[in-house]
């Protein structure tokens, strides 16, 4: 992998300043600051309903930033939504897959929409890497939970995002899947990519070199310990 290159490599990949978000009038994020540099992995911990997925949705540009500032690769996301989307990849709770298309077709659709030029052999190699070689031409609707997750994650092998956003990436993966994902993430980080992920699984993240953060009452605070989640 070779995360998209920009000129100023010293600036942070993503920078959030005082980001607030409310659903209706229910304030979920009350001023979040975050800086992520190249090669860094930030992990968000926090209780159920604390707003991790919401924060990732904001980072992914799915929700618009109403209060606060979000710069991605130096671009103000508020005015450069489309450029920002080109630079990031989000794999969330949902897999964004089409049941009636096969694995290959799903990946093809994805790469066409992103304007990537990938050949079919490349696609099949990616599927092989995530352990879906045998299911390459099967419609996705019959996939098991873990197989869907693997396919969703296979996208990161095709796109070369600057910033990777993951929401509970380990859920539904078996041991082998977890190992494979961690190896892939380490690789990606070494090549200068940046990751922000939400997780409830400190044991599995432990392998990665990362900076844990804790989200509570709408405030994000850095943690020192690598096993941060406290009830």
């Amino acid at each position: 992998m070779n995360p998209a290159v920009t000129d100023a490599t010293d600036q942070p990949v993503a920078r959030l300043e005082g980001v607030r978000h409310r659903y209706g009038r229910h304030l979920v994020l009350a001023g979040v600051d975050l800086n992520v540099a190249r090669g860094e992995c930030v992990v968000l911990y926090g209780a159920n309903g604390s707003g991790k997925s919401t924060l990732l949705a904001l980072l992914s540009t799915r929700y618009a930033i109403r209060e606060g500032a979000y710069h991605l690769d130096g671009l103000d996301v508020r005015h450069h939504g489309q450029e920002a989307r080109e630079r990031l990849l989000f794999v969330g709770h949902h897999t964004h897959l089409y049941g009636h298309l096969t694995s290959v077709e799903n990946l093809l659709f994805f790469s066409d929409l992103r304007g990537l030029s990938v050949s079919e052999p490349q696609l099949r190699r990616a599927l092989d890497t995530v352990g879906l070689a045998k299911a390459a031409d099967k419609p996705v609707q019959w996939f098991s939970a873990g197989m869907r997750k693997r396919l969703a994650l296979a996208r990161m092998l095709l796109a070369q995002p600057l910033l990777l956003l993951l929401d509970e990436p380990y859920s539904a993966l078996d041991t082998q899947g977890v190992n494979w994902l961690n190896a892939m993430l380490t690789d990606y980080l070494n090549q200068g990519g940046a990751v922000i992920m939400a997780s409830h699984d400190p044991e599995r993240v432990a392998v990665l070199h990362h900076r844990p953060h804790h989200l509570a009452r709408g405030i994000l605070t850095p943690l020192d310990t690598p096993r941060p989640e406290v009830a």
């Binding site: 489309q82 969330g92 709770h93 949902h94 964004h96 897959l97 009636h100 298309l101």
Partner: protein
């Protein structure tokens, strides 16, 4: 960009055509609507000629309406629509992709039901087929444009089909009227087609100019 439009439309149309289900079921649906009208109104031959424009347009309208639910159905599963919105293409491209797929299927069905209607209702207007098709196509542009927008708007709404119909029907009243009148004018041979065509074009222009923009607003969160 055109590749993305094409891809989105392809996904919908190919997905549908692969099962060869949609096209033929839309077609058969249209036929059953005609049968319903026949059973409900039992027009005689002369009456049928008078009712023909209305039959065609009412069938088109209901077929489109029933087809609209499909447009975003595939996007419903597992956050697929969210995925589309996360792609780095302008929102307008997504809209046009969805619209194109829908337009193609609807046009195909219309082209197939027109001769069928004539056969079923015993109407002899074969010479006018090209002109009628052109009018149907003109109306369908705006109809599917507005329909696609409304389908996007009612994604995830409760009682979605009812709502969609409720919103679409009043807004397409001018289209329906001018379409019916234009076809009637053609059949009447001495009728005036031009003013109705003008209205159809106005309607198309207005909707196709407004809807991609409205779609962009709609999905911004």
């Amino acid at each position: 960009m055109f590749k993305a439009i094409y891809r989105i439309a392809w996904k919908d149309v190919a997905g549908d055509l692969r099962r060869r289900a949609t096209l033929s079921s839309m077609l058969f649906f249209a036929i059953s609507v005609l049968v319903v009208f026949q059973a409900a109104f039992e027009p005689d031959r002369k009456e049928a000629l008078r009712l023909l424009p209305g039959l065609l347009w009412a069938t088109t309208l209901f077929t489109t309406l029933v087809g609209l639910g499909r447009v975003f159905q595939a996007e419903e599963e597992d956050g697929a629509f969210e995925g589309l919105l996360l792609a780095s293409v302008p929102r307008g491209v997504i809209f046009f992709g969805k619209w194109l797929g829908n337009l193609l299927l609807t046009l195909l069905v219309e082209f197939l039901i027109l001769p069928l209607t004539m056969v079923l209702f015993n109407v002899d207007a074969w010479a006018h087929i090209p002109a009628i098709l052109a009018i149907l196509a003109l109306g369908t542009l705006g109809l599917t444009g507005l329909g696609t927008l409304l389908a996007a708007m009612t994604r995830g709404a409760r009682s979605r089909e009812t709502l969609l119909a409720l919103l679409l029907l009043p807004l397409t009243a001018p289209l329906l009227i001018s379409g019916v009148q234009a076809v009637a004018a053609i059949l009447a041979t001495d009728g005036q087609v031009a003013p109705w065509l003008k209205l159809l074009v106005i309607f198309d222009v207005v909707y196709l100019a407004m809807t991609p923009w409205a779609f962009g607003w709609l999905v911004e969160e």
